[in-house]
Point group: C2
Chain length 233, copies 2
């Protein structure tokens, strides 16, 4: 009788942004086989999905699912086209900006949970961040903990004794710390896409919250953002 090795597969929510790229690399560095899940949810910055594919290639990820789920009819947000993406805002303000997408992380984690259970995996990674996080409620530690408890109750695997782990390795890191960690792992951030409102040629606008936080992160990390230094071909 042989003992089988437990599965080390993990689902990683991969938008194609700087954070999720770093998370996917961290999961891989921790020994997980990364199964990447990208959702086309009607985001105005669908350019990020192309970035997700580039990241998948660069990290040598063999399982990547792109799921189409058009949230524009039910989730009002600047990111689903209901209003203009705010520019040159004070990104340290404590109000929740119009780029908040109602229930987005709950929807994405639920989809990741379905795939995890189907694969017999119990690890889910996502790139939420409680510091440079734009004030989104579904990026807070207490939210992540609550989802993990829900996952155990929601599933056949949980009833059978599995305990789902929701890994948010960036939760308490600044953007600069995230970038340093990624650079130490050899990541090419020129492959990622963060901008909420890219120019027609795909280049970042440099004025939305996501661009501002990214630029500040690179500056604080003492690094050059390859996306800004040289635009993608």
């Amino acid at each position: 009788m042989t003992t089988s090795t437990p599965s080390r597969r993990a689902i990683v929510l991969l938008s194609g942004g700087l954070d999720s790229y770093t998370v996917a690399a961290i999961a891989r560095a921790q020994g997980f086989d990364v199964c990447a899940l990208t959702v086309r949810y009607g985001q105005v910055h669908a350019r990020e999905v192309e970035a997700a594919r580039a990241v998948v290639g660069a990290l040598g990820i063999t399982e990547h699912v792109e799921l189409a789920l058009d949230l524009r009819g039910i989730a009002k947000s600047a990111l689903t086209g209901n209003s203009d993406v705010p520019k040159d805002r004070d990104v340290d303000a404590t109000d929740i900006p119009s780029t908040y997408v109602p229930a987005r992380n709950t929807i994405f984690l639920s989809l990741a949970l379905a795939w995890a259970e189907t694969l017999g995996a119990s690890d889910i990674f996502l790139g939420v961040n409680a510091l440079d996080y734009s004030g989104y409620p579904d990026c807070r530690p207490e939210y992540i903990d609550a989802f993990a408890r829900l996952a155990d109750l929601a599933t056949r695997a949980g009833v059978g004794g599995a305990r789902f782990a929701i890994h948010a390795p960036l939760l308490h890191m600044t953007k600069a710390e995230i970038i340093r960690a990624g650079l130490a792992l050899g990541l090419d951030y020129g492959l990622s896409h963060s901008c909420y409102d890219p120019r027609p040629d795909g280049r970042p606008c440099q004025h939305c919250d996501s661009c501002v936080l990214r630029a500040r992160g690179f500056a604080e990390a003492g690094a050059v953002d390859p996306l800004v230094a040289a635009p993608p071909a």
Copy 2:
């Protein structure tokens, strides 16, 4: 200065089955404006979506969203075509059958939550049932409670003080009690569709768990199922 009346809109997850039809009618009877959400998730019994439309018409629901979200690639189940729908099973067995769809209710409630927050509503109804429920983990009271707590943490509305209510009015009812309640509300169950594996002409198979539970419910309620007595035109 005038005082505005608080919104009485509620999201109702409407599959087109007997249970969700009854729940929509209960929500309406409680004074809610029903906003019905139906998901095409790649279910083998897509016939139920047509039933959802019929129910929407019969109840005079003015807001109905049908969302396409193909779960077949990430959620393995007999209901997403990964195996045959079991027939003539002991529906009182305590194991979780192959018709369980991983994380389905969590996905559906998350989508309902997005729409609720977008509409400024805080009431969500679904037709889960803890008695005649086929053993699904995401139909248990403790799961429903956990989702409500998550919803408060997950959303801008929750941060702002809203408390989401997840209404599961059928939770502790038998199928016979559900049918009696629906008949008392004047429902035409000939419009609903419960079968997991309908025949080519759309008629119920009479052998899957859902058909067996429905037939037992009608028998115990002392009523005739119009779907069986006279097939839909």
